[in-house]
């Protein structure tokens, strides 16, 4: 038990160092910079242009197919049993 605690104490600085290094990745410059995202921000790239229509079509498919999920939206009761 003592050896386990000693190992953990030794690993703690390494763990904290790793966290600092990893999280510092959040603040370094990303490889696609904000001013290079014009194409990504164009509405043709939006996957959420018609949220109500998408929800309705998800419902249409869910009530007639045996599977659902992993569509990126929160599931809900569909009253389709």
């Amino acid at each position: 038990m003592t050896s386990t605690l000693t190992t953990m104490k030794r690993l703690l600085p390494l763990l904290l160092t790793a966290i600092v290094i990893l999280t510092s990745g959040c603040t370094i410059q990303p490889w696609v910079k904000p001013y290079e995202r014009a194409a990504l921000a164009d509405e043709v790239m939006s996957g959420d242009r018609h949220p109500s229509v998408d929800d309705y079509m998800d419902h249409v498919h869910e009530v007639r197919e045996g599977s659902r999920g992993a569509s990126g939206t929160a599931g809900g009761g569909c009253g389709c049993n």
Binding site: L12, C26, V44, M45, S52, Y56, G69, N81
Partner: protein, 415 residues
Amino acid sequence: MKRSIVFAGLRRDRGTLKVLQRCAVCASAFFLYLISANAGVLPEDRAEVVGHIYQGGGVKVYGPTVLVRKKIGENIDLSVAGDEDFVSSASIDVVTAASPYKEVRKQWSPSVSYLHGKTTYSLSYLKSQEPDYLSNNGSFTISEDMFGDLTTVTLGFSRGWDHVRQHVKDDSGKDSFVDDFKENNELVSPRLDRRDYRIGLSQILTKKLIMSANYESAAQEGFLRNPYRRVRYGDANSSDIQYQPEIYPHTRTSNAVGLEARYYLDYRASIKLGYRYYTDTWGINSHTGDLEYVHPFGSRWLTEWSVRYYSQSKADFYADLFPYFNAQNFLARDRELATFNDISFHVGVTWKIPVSTKLSFATSLMYDRIQYNYKDFRDNRDVLVDGKLTALPPNQQPLYKYGANVFMLQGSLNY
């Protein structure tokens, strides 16, 4: 004297544990501080109304859908969505086992999102109500933008509570609803509990490519069958067929993973490719693929074209015809659990009208054509033979298939 505690079979020093816990809390706080250094954004304020009509397989569903979304300050977003479906059904299940019916399904869903730094916390509630089916659902989602906003990680959990009832007519012809269902002469609960766990990752890969991956695991426990539907049994060569109620397992666990990539084309258009794999403990495996192309014309017109293909294998306890009464522990003849595929084509056009720098209006017209092809579900409706409605033996009945049309007209206001 140092005191010790027992935890998960290990004896750990309490003082050291406290130090470790404090370090972990400090590290977590430092991590959250770093990734929350810059603020994220909430969706735009928006109001939209959609009128929709679905018609196919003897079923017609129409009604409106409304969504209103409004920010309060810079950190709170409120939204409410409502949906009303007017259903008239003469589907193959209905015309072969009951009478055509009409009913209304109402659904509403308020939600609130709170933005703190790069983290968005969302809480939503959904209620869907039909005369014979009540569904309540609560959902909590955390979404985190990180690594210079190139990556978004989303975690979600939903909990649902449903109540199933059956519409019956008593001896005097009066409508009533019952929920005292029996299976093998024993009462079973008419309630259904659902739990959904979701994790999603969205990643900007290049200046033109964004990809996402979603995983969802769902567990359902309770009354999972349709109280109206029956299975049939008998000799496939004979038209003397008998019926008995379906019997389903009371649990179902499913796993689904979805992948999506959207790419910007240089002449200002986009193409999206998506795939989803699904598997569950009932033996159903499905594959879904979709391809979408979005193309604008000028600054005010946007068109979208897509095709979606879906195929699934049958549930282990599904059969179009069972050989005899209670042929197995679980019995189903629900065509949603059969082997089938469907293919749908979607086309839509949007016209945008900017009103002012803050206000814009858009209207969209969309059409979907869906074709369903069943591989082991037969059309058991009577057919005309020599001018007379006649029941065919199951092995002479054609495989069932039908097409459906969906029209949607949307008006939206961004403000």
